[in-house]
């Protein structure tokens, strides 16, 4: 286990952990802001209860997203100093802008929203939750623009400076306007909204099957159904566009996701492929003819390159190395992500159909609804694992490999200390967050209406 290997694990673990909380922050912020707006317009108490109930869960989730986000900004320099030197001229800009435009906005106005009720006018209070939501969304835009630069540096936005051995920015607008970044952004925001909608469905179903707080949770469930349908379609369209873009810019990633070994024209879509243990050779597969060509370029006859051909091409271009990502991971994470995404889209349509029946709340499938939440979280995590693993061995596609990006001064001991430390701290955070989430999610909206309760001295064996 060398420093590069451990650093990759650390980056992966801390980033996926952070990403468990971010989509919900993105989506739920918008939905809570919507609920509060409806209360402001109608003065209907149910809207107020909804705002408070979902707002409480939003805050518990937000806090953990914020603290794990600090690590993200530091670890480029901490673990990947050579990367930071190599692309700082370009990559640093969106990060700095993210802090200046987005972090200040969301943190400052979250304070106003949380503490300002009764102190600021109702309008300002309402505006503050919208500004928090806007801050989170802006933050995702800039970090995704930065990430898309690593995936496929947009031509024209930079030059490679031979003398200083680094990449330099030459056109800021091309960097920010990178189509790939905006597709990521669309897909991510839609996914955040979908995550929030499914969370609302799951928790509302929990209360509805217990026949409690019907006013709040029936309305929540209905809204979340519409939002699930709309956002899952948005996620799908974004993902589809990303696939087509990937064929142009990252053919190796596309081929590894689809387990396409040999170049095919027309290409078939693999329903199930079993590779050998190295993941470099196919053992057995079932395929749908023509489907891959359609997914990759919207017609039934285009060519999709296979990994062997691309490997040869890259070896000629960049020198000998293994350019094929760990296919067993990219292949399966993609299928988990897309599978659950499609199931959730179907779920939305199913719910809409069942709701035409007046008695829908008492139907048997409702008891399964609370588990729907698991699918969103699995899809969220696998989506990023696929995106980042599919980029290997590159950290900046075509320009720098991950193994050259590491901080040269780090030792294996440093890495074990931080890796174990983060794991311990993050586990503690998860326990605390889960305890609170469970308490407020299964509790009544009235509980969320009131601010913290009095302290009760601990009694051993009983809380």
């Amino acid at each position: 286990m060398d420093v590069v290997y451990l650093s990759r694990w650390q980056f992966g673990l801390t980033t996926i952990y952070h990403w468990l909380f971010v989509p919900l922050t993105l989506g739920l912020g918008l939905l809570v802001a919507f609920m509060q707006t409806r209360y402001y317009q109608t003065r209907d108490e149910t809207w107020k209860k909804m705002t408070k109930f979902w707002g409480k869960l939003y805050l518990i989730n937000f806090a953990i997203g914020v603290v794990t986000g600090i690590v993200q900004e530091f670890q480029f320099g901490m673990n990947w100093s050579e990367y930071s030197r190599f692309v700082g001229d370009i990559f640093g800009a969106p990060l700095a802008i993210e802090a200046l435009l987005a972090f200040f906005l969301e943190s400052t106005f979250l304070g106003v929203w949380l503490f300002g009720e009764g102190k600021v006018s109702e309008k300002v209070h309402l505006a503050s939750i919208w500004l928090v939501a806007l801050g989170s969304i802006l933050s995702s835009l800039f970090i995704l623009v930065a990430n898309s630069f690593m995936q496929a540096p947009p031509p024209g936005s930079f030059v490679y400076n031979q003398e200083l051995g680094r990449m330099e920015l030459t056109n800021f607008l091309l960097l920010i306007g990178n189509l790939k970044g905006w597709l990521f952004f669309w897909h991510t925001i839609a996914d955040g909204i979908l995550t929030a909608a499914v969370l609302i469905l799951s928790i509302s179903a929990y209360h509805l099957i217990r026949k409690q707080h019907i006013d709040v949770f029936k309305r929540s469930f209905e809204i979340a159904t519409y939002v699930t349908i709309a956002s899952s379609i948005m996620v799908f369209l974004g993902g589809h566009a990303m696939g087509q873009e990937m064929r142009q810019l990252q053919p190796m990633k596309l081929a590894s996701i689809e387990a396409i070994w040999e170049t095919e024209q027309p290409a078939s879509f693999s329903l199930l492929t079993i590779g050998d243990l190295t993941g470099k050779r196919e053992v057995w597969s079932i395929k749908i003819p023509y489907a891959m060509s359609f997914l990759a370029c919207n017609n039934f006859s285009c060519e999709v390159q296979g990994v062997y051909d691309i490997q040869k091409e890259y070896e000629a271009k960049y020198g000998p190395d293994d350019y094929i990502p760990l296919m067993v991971v990219t292949y399966w994470t993609f299928r988990i992500m897309m599978g659950f995404g499609l199931i959730l889209m179907g779920l939305g349509i199913f719910l809409y159909w069942r709701m035409q029946n007046k008695n829908w709340m008492n139907e048997k499938w409702m008891t399964w609804m609370p588990y729907a939440l698991i699918m969103t979280y699995l899809a969220n995590a696998t989506g990023w694992i696929m995106t980042e693993m599919g980029r290997q061995p590159w950290i900046v596609t075509g320009y720098m490999k991950v193994k050259d990006a590491i901080s040269p001064n780090l030792t294996v001991v440093d890495l074990w200390i931080s890796l174990i430390g983060y794991t311990a701290v993050y586990t503690g955070l998860a326990v605390a967050m889960f305890t609170l989430m469970k308490k407020y999610a299964t509790g009544s909206p009235e509980q969320a209406m009131h601010e913290p309760i009095d302290v009760i001295p601990s009694i051993s064996g009983k809380k």
């Binding site: 930071s84 700082g88 430390g421």
Partner: protein
């Protein structure tokens, strides 16, 4: 603007961000460290936390923006410092994480053990952050081993030298005093406030002794060094501000006491950047290996673009952040009906 002007401008801007961070999070860290010591009852602890409740997160963003700006404007500074101070920064991050989460979570359970655990996490997290920041800054001024490839060649213990540790302890003590003065300013009259005033008097003595010791040490360290910019009367003014704080506390000039510790923090930072300029990382191995604003910076183009963005958004951020302080200027009462966190 020429490349050199932009490099100086960004050095100043990053300095401003760090100064703002030290001033603002300085009292947040101080207040955080005091939570379990000054708060005897649950409501008191909550009142202490609520004095910084609406604004601590916004204050912390000054650090993130300083980090982001360093990355964008001086990639080599960011790369060398962050990788070089790896374990110190890791501990700093742990401190910031456990403290940040605790503000939000501590009062959401009625359980005493739960709350007390989070109170200690706030205190320990704030302490770790203050101590490590001070140690890091002292080491930056003192120089750390850096080779010709701009790579740090020491380890965590290299940073834990006497000067670094004195810097860490002094920063911690000054932040404690700054926090206590902030609390006095933000609390309504009562038992808790009296207790805080008494504590601030004791902290003032410790902070003053440490600060003067650090000043003398710094003076001796740099006496022969003709290359640095002489900070002139700034250090002595900083000492005077700190010493005056004691008088202000005794005479119950709450606002002045807070401003004078704030002034001490700002002037200390200003002197620091004057003595550093134009270096951003000083190599103790060989001065030829120093990272300067010239050899560590981004291109003229990037600095130019970033300048335009900063010019538009920094004033905007300052305006709305100042507005929130004005909005929450009311003193906090030890009364559970009015507390949020």
């Amino acid at each position: 603007m020429s490349h050199e002007t932009l490099q100086i401008l960004w050095f100043v801007l990053i300095a401003v961000l760090w100064i703002g961070f030290h001033f603002l999070e300085g009292f947040d860290f101080g207040v955080g460290m005091l939570v379990p010591f000054l708060g005897k009852k649950d409501e008191e602890r909550r009142a202490i936390i609520n004095t910084i409740g609406p604004t601590w997160d916004g204050n912390e963003v000054w650090l993130l923006t300083a980090g982001g700006a360093t990355f964008a404007a001086f990639p080599h500074w960011y790369a060398t410092m962050f990788s070089g101070f790896y374990l110190a920064l890791f501990l700093l991050l742990v401190g910031l994480i456990i403290r940040g989460i605790s503000f939000e979570y501590r009062s959401k359970q009625p359980d005493q053990a739960w709350r007390s655990r989070f109170d200690w996490m706030i205190a320990i997290g704030s302490f770790l952050a203050a101590l490590l920041l001070g140690t890091a800054f002292a080491n930056l001024l003192n120089g750390v081993p850096i080779n010709e490839k701009m790579i740090y060649t020491g380890n965590l213990f290299t940073l834990l030298n006497p000067y670094g540790l004195l810097g860490g302890l002094t920063t911690t003590a000054v932040f404690l005093l700054h926090g206590a003065n902030f609390l006095v300013l933000k609390l309504e009259a009562g038992e808790l406030k009296d207790r805080t005033v008494n504590a601030s008097k004791k902290i003032w003595i410790v902070a003053s002794i440490l600060y003067i010791a650090l000043g003398v040490y710094t003076y001796i360290n740099n006496f022969w060094n003709k290359e640095i910019i002489d900070p002139g009367i700034i250090p002595i003014t900083a000492v005077a501000a700190l010493l005056l704080t004691g008088t202000f506390i005794n005479r119950k000039h709450e606002g002045w006491a807070f401003l004078s510790t704030g002034l001490n923090i700002i002037l200390t930072q200003v002197a620091f950047y004057m003595m550093m300029f134009p270096n951003v990382m000083i190599s103790s191995t060989d001065p030829a290996y120093n990272l300067t604003i010239y050899n560590a910076s981004s291109t003229q183009y990037t600095l130019g673009v970033m300048s335009i963005i900063a010019l538009i958004f920094v004033p905007l951020v300052l305006m709305y952040q100042a507005w929130t302080y004005w909005m929450f200027a009311k003193r906090v009462k030890v009364d559970k009906k009015t507390l949020i966190y």
